[in-house]
């Protein structure tokens, strides 16, 4: 069965590489946003899927990454990729800080704490006019690699795809690592895990830091894609749509993160024709998903997979 999985992965990769051909600028742009959102979905996979910690403040990390990268590229002349790394690191530092209250509060209270963080970030970026341009916003240069500016979203898509695959690979390795497994153990039963000698605080901090790093990287990439940043972009609505995307795609799967990203980028485009009826469609999709597909869209694929396969022998 190991082969089947490898073949499936290769097929998905092939599709991802072949996808943009013939789509035109509008299509390239949409695909690029799919990748950017998918990276955020990956980050929520780590935080919620593995760590069991909820956040409705990821727009805050996204903003920190976007502004962090844009500012070092514009003001300090950093190259694009270094800027993206800085964006991720800035977000990661704040991720570690946000984890501190997470050690004390859970569930709804944690959600509210992270929400507060996102609003705080948005407000500070808005008021700090000298640095961020405040309401006037900030123009961000196109991404460039080794001195070549990526003029079209077609070439940028492949950069984004590479970053997504790299982060997906890291996520997979993390899930299999000692730290990752400890985190999942803590999620299942914090008491039992702690009795086995797993320290809760450090693992929660690690989960938040990694998640914030991924989201920061995504934000940095987003800024260079859009070309203009404004604090209004990083609202509560964005945090909520991230969470929705991660739930709909699937919180326990890297392919699910990709589906989630595709959902968030494509849904408004495909449903635009429906005008106000879109709201109803979104609502029904979400309710159906939470009710019948708690594992997200990816669990549909997995279900079909298992039907086709002979049942596994009991362990």
């Amino acid at each position: 069965m190991k082969h089947a999985r490898t073949i499936a992965t290769l097929l998905v990769l092939l599709v991802l590489v072949a996808l943009p051909f013939g789509l035109g600028h509008y299509g390239y742009y949409i695909l690029a946003t799919v990748m950017i959102y998918a990276i955020v979905a990956l980050s929520l996979n780590v935080l919620i899927g593995m760590g069991g910690q909820i956040s409705i403040g990821h727009a805050g990390f996204w903003a920190l990454g976007a502004y962090g990268s844009a500012l070092v590229v514009i003001k300090l002349g950093f190259p694009f990729l270094a800027g993206v790394l800085v964006g991720g690191l800035v977000a990661a530092i704040f991720g570690a800080l946000v984890a501190l209250p997470a050690l004390r509060v859970q569930g709804h209270y944690l959600a509210i704490a992270t929400l507060g963080f996102a609003l705080f970030v948005q407000q500070v970026l808005f008021e700090w006019e000298g640095l961020t341009g405040g309401r006037q916003g900030l123009f961000v240069p196109r991404p460039s690699l080794f001195g070549y500016e990526l003029q079209t979203d077609f070439s940028y898509y492949y950069v984004l795809l590479a970053v997504f695959l790299l982060l997906a690979w890291i996520t997979g390795n993390f899930a299999g690592s000692h730290t990752g497994r400890s985190l999942m153990a803590l999620k299942m039963s914090s008491v039992a895990a702690e009795c086995c000698g797993i320290a809760r605080p450090i693992h929660i901090i690690i989960a938040f830091t990694i998640s914030a790093f991924f989201t920061g990287v995504s934000g940095a990439l987003y800024g260079h894609l859009l070309g203009h940043l404004s604090t209004e972009t990083f609202s509560l609505a964005v945090s909520l749509s991230f969470l929705t995307m991660a739930v709909i795609g699937g919180l326990h799967s890297r392919a699910g993160a990709l589906l989630g990203g595709a959902y968030l980028a494509l849904a408004p485009e495909l449903l635009r024709e429906f005008k106000d009826a879109q709201m109803v469609i979104y609502g029904i999709t979400l309710i159906l998903c939470v009710q019948f597909l708690p594992g997200g869209l990816i669990s549909l694929v997995e279900r079909v997979w298992t039907i086709r396969r002979p049942p596994r022998a009991a362990p």
Partner: protein, 389 residues
């Protein structure tokens, strides 16, 4: 996933639905054919700005419809594709790429939203797609540098300047106070007013601010009253204008009040009542309903015919003004229509009157908003125009 968390996710998911996006009309055809010109627009038809965006669309659309009924421009009818961007720059970038690459629009006209407009300027400049009347408050929209951008609105600071000049020059005020919204919209007006006062060797005797979520401004009214101004400038939105004049009336305080164009909104009258509003001066950067000019009457007629439920006002006039101006540019560009010719046509307008906004004065070196404004006064629940533009 434990119980509470799943419940929380469900609730969040539902809440998200309330924030997500609906859409607008759509068709697909190349920019200019023998008998048709396709134009585009993006508007936040679902967001906090939705009401204004809808009115703006209706104003422009009513004009295009009536134009098409009369045979179009140079024998071509106008098709206008409006996309909803939900006031999200990511979606604006998507819809503009769709409009330009898929639908192949010739130009873009009457869009709304500062951030959303700014987000697509680099792309539009790169493609050389003309955009007329991007409504927002930013130097690049109100005093554009790009060859393809044509703004109709003035900078907020210029409105502030004009209000201060009017208070001192026309109303003879010596002590001027300023009450403004604590964000860029209000601050720009405040800065402009302070600049203008400086030219008259004056400074503001008092300043107070509010934020849009405030439901009470009585403390600010009292503090401004203590500075004993003869005139108060309001850089403000309708709700707080109503709160201000009602509170002043309650205290029996009667300074001369000069307000931003938003104070001309019929909503202020509904909220404050005619007595509290009596005598308040209003800066005009679009026409008002009661203006007795042929252009305004014609605009009201067109709007009433195609969108009878829409009240004439700031947004419908603004949308329509953009439509009128681009049509004039297209007319001047002639039969062999290209984007370069449209830009040349718009630049050849010189001082051009639509009657719905102050005259624009475009040239090869200036694509920005007007420099002169009108003034009106609330009298007996009606706006009386004191000074045209």
């Amino acid at each position: 996933m434990n119980g509470p968390m799943r419940a929380l996710l469900a609730v969040t998911a539902l809440a998200t639905a309330a924030f997500l996006f609906p859409g607008a009309t759509r068709a697909a055809d190349p920019g200019v054919t023998k008998d048709k010109i396709t134009l585009g627009s993006f508007l936040p038809l679902q967001s906090g700005l939705a009401a204004g965006a809808t009115q703006m669309r209706e104003g422009a659309d009513a004009y295009f419809k009536s134009l098409n009924e009369a045979g179009g421009v140079n024998g071509r009818k106008i098709e206008w594709i409006v996309e909803n961007d939900s006031y999200n720059p990511q979606q604006t970038a998507a819809v503009v790429k769709k409009l330009v690459d898929r639908d192949g629009v010739f130009a873009i006209v009457s869009t709304l939203g500062t951030v959303t407009n700014l987000a697509v300027l680099p792309f539009l400049a790169q493609r050389g797609v003309p955009i007329v009347n991007p409504a927002g408050g930013h130097l690049l929209l109100n005093k554009p540098k790009d060859k393809n951008v044509f703004g109709i609105l003035p900078l907020s600071s210029e409105i502030g300047e004009s209000m201060a000049d009017y208070a001192v020059g026309k109303l003879g005020a010596k002590r001027v106070a300023i009450f403004y919204q604590n964000d860029q919209f209000g601050k720009d007006q405040r800065d402009g007013a302070v600049e203008a006062l400086k030219k008259h060797n004056l400074q503001a005797v008092g300043e107070a601010t509010y934020v849009p979520s405030d439901v009470d401004v009585s403390a600010q009214v009292v503090s401004l009253r203590q500075t004993d101004p003869d005139a108060v400038i309001l850089g403000i939105i309708p709700k707080h204008a109503a709160l201000f004049v009602k509170e002043a009336q309650r205290l029996g305080w009667k300074p001369k009040i000069i307000g931003h164009n938003t104070v001309a909104d019929p909503v202020v009258l509904d909220l404050a009542g005619p007595e509290a509003l009596e005598g308040v001066y209003v800066n005009l950067m679009t026409a008002v309903d009661g203006m007795d000019t042929p252009a305004v009457k014609k605009a009201n007629e067109i709007l009433a015919k195609h969108y009878p439920k829409t009240k004439p006002g700031y947004y419908p006039y603004l949308g329509m003004a953009g439509a009128m101006i681009i049509v004039e540019g297209i007319k001047r560009a002639g039969d062999d229509l290209t984007r370069a010719k449209l830009i040349a046509g718009l630049e050849s307008l010189g001082r051009h009157e639509t009657g719905l906004v102050p005259p624009i004065e475009w040239s090869a070196s200036y694509h920005g908003g007007p420099k002169s404004f009108g003034y009106a006064q609330w009298q007996g629940g009606k706006l009386k125009v004191l000074q045209g533009w």
